[in-house]
């Protein structure tokens, strides 16, 4: 057996019910490392162009990476990839939790899922065995209920379940795939794709008590894990572990980078009510007896950072069951500051609804915030909303709307299409308030301040994304803290604040290759990365070597990242998507931010367009179209993709 990976990929045809196993050679794994790059191989080779994202021709690929399941922090990640029903372009989303490691232990590296089952089914993969089972009795149920039924039905509490909730069944365009009832492949509507296929869940279990996973250098991995655990307290991720990702709320507020009121402002007066420190003091499980470090934090397989939140609220209008976890910074932002809601219980409750029904908290909260701005400007009225006063700051309306989207009720049904499609359906100038790129709602980081991130938002093949490159500050004023690590990537010339110089673009491009590779190896971007993360890029290289035995280099890893990015881009090109669609929301150019440190800031259009040219140039893509060139594709061993695109 190879080190690190199983060498087995399960192909599932839901139309015919046929299940087959493919055993690719080692060179295949080294070419892609797993995850997103591996998924793209199948989407490009097996999916016809212009497939309906919610039709049987779409392929849903779920895969782990070569290091998934190793006993070290930050390796248990799974990527889902398919054509997105939200964006009409490529969709791609990662999750953590225990599912990814268990999937590896169950004997497979990927599930490639095609077709459409005539009735609801789930895929049960148990220690190398696999079957499709009836899921009629699970259809319509929320995630926690489904998990409980499956524990009972399969007689094993240690199974791991990646499932859709009712929102995936009704194909809310930003439906998520949820595991543990609180971890999500959140973005780009992968849950809707799963729902369109009548696939309720994928359930995995490795051999009981004995993990089927061999690594090349076990001792080195144990040493690395020990070292990681030892340095956490002094590292930059200590706060992330203790106070969660929402720890960052205050530092965003101070610089005017906390997107508020649907991105009209970079400050939110009530930020302290919803930040990570307040969450720690108030609603984390165990906070009442000062035991939240023990009882209010959760983790992913083998990770000692323990950044996941466990919230419990037993009183008041918004009760939260700890089974459904707790909100991340992105979620406190979209349901909180985007909507002007400074009510942490309401935010945690909306997060729970998303985890029960299976929805992306970013697109859900951001779509509601967009609708709120439309309402404030009279473009949407109570006639549309069914009487709900959808105003900024109205926590109750935010929660009600989240539930209506989840259940496909009334106005919620329209908002379940995503804000871009809803704006198209409503008209009346509502598109003016959109904050989407490639029809995907922007996450909680602001291109008005983080200028190179704006370029990534606009160009990223699966829409606005904050986890596809390193953010600007580390190559601006904060450079000194990260100089040593960035040197490994030959990034040694920090740039002025908000600049979009060729050197700044080089920083975005080079770190994008790293992030892109990390979504292929499938590692957590809090644990591995180019600047503030626990382990730096050299240590990611070490890990891959310790697990696989390959004598791999950082440039080789970055090439995998570049390869994956080009495959995503090529997929979109095949769908007729090119530079024309690489845009930031008009609002960011036209409307200056109000209040705080970022008062008056906009994105400069001329500077931004020039930066796009530079971005394509550095990627060696066609500047006019933004499509990868044959020369570049061939250099990445993707000549076959060039053939496919006839370029």
């Amino acid at each position: 057996m190879p080190y690190g990976y199983n060498g087995k990929i399960l192909h599932v045809n839901l139309t015919s019910g046929e299940l087959t196993v493919e055993e690719p050679p080692e060179s295949f794994y080294r070419q892609y490392l797993g995850g997103s790059a591996l998924n793209m191989h199948y989407l490009l080779t097996q999916m016809p162009a212009h497939a309906d994202p919610l039709g049987p021709d779409n392929i849903l690929a779920l895969s782990v990476g070569v290091t998934t399941g190793a006993p070290v922090s930050g390796q248990s990640r799974m990527t889902s990839t398919a054509k997105s029903p939200l964006t009409g372009a490529i969709g791609d989303a990662q999750c953590g939790g225990f599912f990814p490691a268990e999937m590896k232990f169950a004997g497979f590296d990927a599930f490639i899922i095609k077709g459409r089952s005539p009735q609801p089914v789930y895929l049960w993969v148990n220690d190398g065995q696999y079957e499709l089972r009836d899921a009629s009795h699970l259809w319509g149920k929320i995630t926690g209920e489904v998990e409980a039924i499956l524990h009972e039905e399969l007689g094993d509490k240690n199974i791991e379940v990646a499932q859709i909730g009712p929102a995936g069944e009704t194909m809310v365009r930003y439906a998520a795939i949820i595991n543990m009832s609180n971890r999500a492949n959140g973005r780009t509507g992968m849950g809707a794709v799963m729902g369109s296929k009548n696939l309720k869940a994928v359930v995995v279990r490795g051999k009981k008590g004995k993990k089927k996973f061999t690594v090349a250098n076990k001792q080195a991995i144990i040493d690395m894990a020990r070292y990681g655990a030892k340095i956490i307290p002094e590292s930059d991720v200590a706060g992330l572990g203790k106070y969660g990702t929402a720890e960052t709320t205050g530092s965003q507020q101070v610089v005017g980078g906390l997107p508020s009121y649907n991105f009209n402002s970079g400050v939110f007066d009530e930020w302290e009510a919803i930040d990570g420190t307040t969450m720690y003091d108030t609603i984390l499980r165990g906070a009442d007896v000062d035991k939240q470090d023990l009882r209010g934090r959760d983790t992913c397989y083998s990770c000692t950072v323990r950044c996941k939140r466990v919230v419990e609220i037993t009183e008041g209008p918004y009760k939260v069951d700890p089974h459904y976890g707790g909100p991340e910074y992105e979620t406190t932002s979209t349901f909180g500051n985007y909507c002007g809601v400074g009510d942490l219980a309401a935010v945690a409750y909306a997060n729970q609804v998303c985890n029960q029904y299976g929805m992306d908290t970013i697109s859900c909260g951001a779509t509601i915030a967009w609708a709120m701005e439309c309402f404030e400007n009279g473009k949407i009225t109570t006639d549309d909303t069914g009487g709900i006063e959808l105003k900024f700051g109205n926590a109750e309306a935010m929660v009600t709307m989240t539930e209506m989207i989840a259940r496909g009720e009334g106005f919620g049904q329209l908002l379940g299409l995503g804000s871009a499609a809803a704006a198209e359906a409503i008209g009346r100038g509502t598109e003016e308030y959109l904050i989407t790129s490639h029809k995907q709602e922007a996450p909680a980081h602001m291109p008005q301040l983080k200028s190179s991130l704006g370029v990534i938002y606009a160009t990223n093949p699966f829409g606005a994304d904050h986890q596809s490159s390193e953010h600007d500050a580390a190559y601006e004023k904060d450079f000194d803290s990260y100089a040593e690590r960035l040197k490994v990537l030959d990034l040694t010339q920090p740039q002025p604040k908000r600049s979009l110089t060729p050197e700044k673009i080089r920083y975005a491009v080079q770190t994008q290759y790293i992030y892109s590779a990390m979504d292929s190896v499938n590692v957590c971007q809090f644990v591995y990365g180019p600047t503030w993360q626990l382990f730096h890029v050299d240590q990611l290289r070490d890990l891959i070597e310790y697990v696989t035995g390959w004598d791999i280099t950082v440039p080789e890893i970055m090439t995998v990242g570049e390869r994956r990015l080009n495959m995503l881009r090529a997929f979109n090109a095949r769908e007729g998507i090119d530079r024309e669609q690489d845009k930031l929301p008009e609002k960011m150019f036209k409307k200056a931010l109000k209040g705080g440190r970022s008062d008056g800031l906009k994105v400069d259009r001329a500077q931004f367009e020039a930066a796009l040219d530079e971005y394509y140039r550095q990627n060696e893509w066609d500047i006019e179209t933004g499509i990868p060139t044959r020369h570049k594709l061939e250099a990445l061993d993707l000549g076959w993709v060039a053939e496919m695109l006839k370029i």
């Binding site: 930059d236 706060g239 106070y243 720890e247 610089v255 971007q525």
Partner: protein, 76 residues
């Protein structure tokens, strides 16, 4: 002069737990943000706000200022 300091997130751990990140320091006139960071033995890279506005570490403090300190995070 007296400076009201609030430490956020992991920086709270530089004060005893019951303080929840809040303390009042008495400093000589002309003291700067960096001196507060030093006095509290904070060894992490920080960003600061004085009276709610972003401030550099060499910012001179005034009596009764509200100083907030945050851990510096490059990404997020």
């Amino acid at each position: 002069m007296k400076i009201n300091v609030t430490l956020h997130g992991i920086l709270r751990d530089y004060l005893p737990r019951p303080a929840k990140g809040k303390t009042t320091l008495t400093l000589p006139d002309g003291a700067r943000v960096a001196e507060v960071v030093q006095q509290l033995n904070i060894t992490r890279s920080v960003s600061a706000a004085v009276n709610g506005e972003e401030a550099e570490l060499d910012r001179v403090l005034q009596d009764d200022d509200q100083l907030q300190l945050f851990q510096l995070i490059g990404g997020g």
